[in-house]
């Protein structure tokens, strides 16, 4: 049953539920307003006497491992998504759980993918109660149509770490797909036939779950070097033929956008960094693996070369383009959150300057700082941005779940946050009066770059001053919006959303930022 809890208005003016899946919630209080208290969560104390002295923790199959971990009704079980749409382990785990006859599991992946749509049947048959983690494609539709029993909870990568660490979500059993592992449970992701690069998303699960199972298709004799997952946290190791489809784990090559309009957006972003002086010796930036972001990196590295500028570090989503920068001496380091293509996987496996990171180091807001706020500039996408610079990444303009938050919210902490977006998609304007689903507060979004001009948040007078003499088309956001509405034949009708919550969007501090409403 969905909570029939009351709704309250949070500090962003959004109506949010006070209870989510039986747990009381704190409505969003504003940026940096919520003060957490208490101590971090911890796992039970274990003893070496319960684990084999020879370090061999192998069991024959996943079903046995789950049984030995004491899987039962209502537990929280988790996976990471470093194998992306190629992952086979999550469904293997869920199907093994089904065979064991357990019900009402809370599946807690760091993200779900369309290839895992079989989870819908497991929700219908009662094996899974609900999913907390990003949902898109068929799973997203299932949730937005109100068919899931519990509420979806959308968290950023950093927010997921925060929720686990703060004890909001207690993982009973974590099942970690590992491209390489030893029988003790040490594991890493950069080698083996299913190599995916960093395993950072699985670190919180391995540290905070009561029980941890490593599943690998590349078992090496102890020690597995380097290890990112420590075997000392691992209960069982399961060897399988294949943890995933390599073709879907990494792209052979990542492609820069070929759309001239999007290339224009990318070029504007790069020129913006140059003209504001953000691009200077020792600076840092982060860009994802989307078409515009890749093109931005391509333009920026050319400008860096021309001006003789070198970055201290770049953050990925790593791709061939970042790797080429590293190899060309345009950056000292890549601090890598996820590894997207073959060149990047090869690089992280062999180049000590290409370093795997985790949501703890990079994104966790409830830590003693995180890398995110030390990055000079970040380039992100969005489905919508409004006149107050609020951003939406989780839903389509019609309210259907589109994609997860990923690191998007966490990246807003950067020195200069840039949304690089086309001004309209298929006639639908991207700049709107008010975002459908608030994912990022406008006070943290500094610049919106479109092919028709660049809007700077009036809060950032320093940036406005920095581009005073630039030839870039700096325009008020209202002006770009009006122009696009003229082109599109008027302002679009605002779709009517349902009245029943189907998911909530958490802010980086665990408070509830917005609600996703039932559609269709």
């Amino acid at each position: 049953m969905t909570d029939r809890a009351e709704l309250v208005q949070n500090a962003a003016g959004r109506m949010v539920p006070t209870m989510v899946n039986g747990k009381p919630q704190i409505p969003y209080l504003g940026v940096a307003k919520y003060q957490p208290r208490g101590r971090k969560a911890a796992t039970p104390v274990r003893s070496s006497k319960d684990y084999p002295d020879n370090g061999d923790k192998r069991v024959p199959d996943l079903e046995t491992a789950l049984r030995q971990c004491g899987l039962r009704d209502g537990m929280v079980i988790s996976n990471h998504h470093h194998l992306r749409d190629g992952d086979r382990v999550a469904l293997m785990m869920l199907e093994a759980a089904a065979k064991l006859g357990v019900k009402d599991l809370l599946w807690f992946p760091s993200a779900s993918f369309p290839s895992q749509k079989a989870a819908i049947e497991l929700m219908q048959s009662g094996v899974i109660h609900h999913i907390e983690g990003s949902m898109n494609g068929p799973l997203g539709d299932y949730c937005t149509q109100g068919k899931m029993r519990g509420l979806g909870v959308l968290r950023s990568h950093g927010g997921r770490w925060q929720a686990i660490q703060d004890g909001e979500v207690h993982i009973d059993i974590a099942v970690i797909a590992a491209p390489t592992a030893d029988a003790f449970g040490n594991a890493e992701g950069s080698h083996g036939k299913s190599a995916c690069g960093s395993l950072g998303f699985a670190l919180a699960d391995s540290t905070y779950a009561d029980r941890v199972i490593v599943v690998t298709d590349n078992l090496v004799p102890f020690p597995c070097i380097p290890w990112q997952i420590q075997g000392n946290n691992v209960d069982h190791v399961v060897e399988v033929d294949s943890i995933g489809d390599p073709a879907k784990i990494v792209s052979g090559t990542t492609q820069i956008t070929r759309s001239p309009d999007r290339l224009r957006v990318a070029e504007y972003v790069a020129r913006f960094l140059r003209d504001t002086g953000i691009m200077r010796n020792g600076f840092s930036f982060q860009a994802g693996a989307g078409g515009i972001a890749l093109a931005f990196v391509d333009y920026l590295r050319r400008m860096m070369k021309e001006d003789g500028v070198k970055a201290r570090f770049v953050r990925g989503g790593s791709t061939r383009y970042l790797v080429e920068m590293l190899q060309a001496g345009l950056t000292d380091y890549i601090l890598d959150g996820q590894t997207f293509d073959l060149d990047a996987v090869k690089s992280i496996a062999s180049d000590p300057r290409h370093v795997p990171t985790s949501p703890f180091t990079s994104y966790n807001y409830h830590g003693k700082g995180s890398f995110a706020s030390m990055v000079d500039a970040v380039v992100l996408g969005a489905t919508e941005v409004d006149l107050n610079f609020n951003g939406n990444v989780v839903t389509h303009s019609d309210g259907r779940l589109l994609h997860g938050i990923g690191g998007w919210q966490n990246c807003l902490q950067a020195g200069c946050t840039i949304l690089a977006v086309p001004s309209f998609r298929d006639r639908i304007p991207v700049i709107v009066d008010e975002v459908t689903t608030l994912t990022g507060p406008g006070e943290l979004i500094d610049v919106v770059v479109t092919e028709r001009g660049i809007a700077i948040n009036p809060r950032r007078q320093d940036l406005l001053d920095a581009v005073k003499d630039s030839s870039l088309p700096i325009r008020p956001i209202q002006e770009i919006k009006a122009e696009v509405e003229r082109i599109c034949g008027g302002r679009p009708v605002r779709p009517k959303l349902g009245e029943r919550p189907v998911a909530v969007v958490k802010w980086v501090d665990g408070t509830v930022l917005d609600t996703v409403w039932q559609v269709g």
Partner: protein, 403 residues
Amino acid sequence: MTASGQEKSAGSGEAGHCGRDVRSDLHVAIEARDGGGLEITMQSRVAPYYGESILAHARQVLEVLSIKHARVEIRDEGALPFVISARIETAARRAGLGLGRKASPERIPLPEPSPRERLRRSRLYLPGSEPKYFINAALHEPDAVILDLEDSVHHAEKDAARILVRNTLRAVDFGKCERMVRINQLPMGLEDLAEIVPESPDLVLLPKAELPQQVAEIDRMIGELKGRYGITRPIWLMPILESALSIENASAIAQASKNVVALTIGLEDYTADLGVAKTPEGRESLYARSRLVNIAGAFGMQAIDSVFGDVADVEGLRRWAESSRALGFEGMGCIHPGQIPVIHAAFAPSQAEIEKATKIVAAFEEAQQRGLGVVSLGSKMIDSPVVQRAQKLVELAKRMGTA
């Protein structure tokens, strides 16, 4: 799905495109009926936002076309209003409905008339049947856009492209770009003119111009249409020379109308006509291109080069454009926006050229002030043609924003 599709009975017609990979277009099928009013069905990927607006728009267009009884089926992929009007009008005409009526969108203010000698370094080709390329073309800042009705438009789509280009000229803001249209060869070109001249394009490109009479006929037709629609601003002509014969007749073609402001060459057809391979160095067309430059110079008009076909080869484009400028051309065509900055850089005078020319102009002005008949710079005497060339170059550099 395309407009061709299966055969339809009389009184029905379809136009436009739809499908997963189609953007900014729509497919319209109209079937006339004897009574029962209008029955409009619509599917659209933007239905939640613009569904009502699309239906209202469709009704309005059908009313303008005086269509009272018909079944209309719309499958929209996010088309902008001027495209919706064009596709409905095309489907109606194909169904034999609304003949003699136009569902033109409201006209945005016309830009300033185009001066005869304006910069024409780059002209971006836009296929006349692909509306998705129109709306942002000017953002890439070519000197001109060409709405193409000729080679990039399938024979069966000529009528549709004509209507779409007409609406585009009315509704799309091309900023500072010169608005060019490439019409079809005669006689089809005359139908093109009837549709587009009322919308005041700045320049008409005449493909495969071989004889001065063709140019004269088109010029006469444009003049007649301008008179009929009360248009006083110029519509310039740029003949495209695409055969051995046309190169031989270039002089007569250049003189066929006072509205000819530039000559250009189409190298694909020219090399095919000669039966030689088209090479990246272009030696096979050196004579033709040099002759074109010379004739253009003789009659005070611009010589504009062909297009460079390999979009991925930026270095090859740069080399071609630089040698093209060295031959005396003032611009060339683009088939992708990415080619524009490369071409503009290649056709810009170098910093050294600008500095030298600026010094010559300054020396000339000083000599004028001092009443001297002879201009000298250092130990050198400067001839008057050199001064004129320097003045022209400084002026050009100013317009390009490089001086």
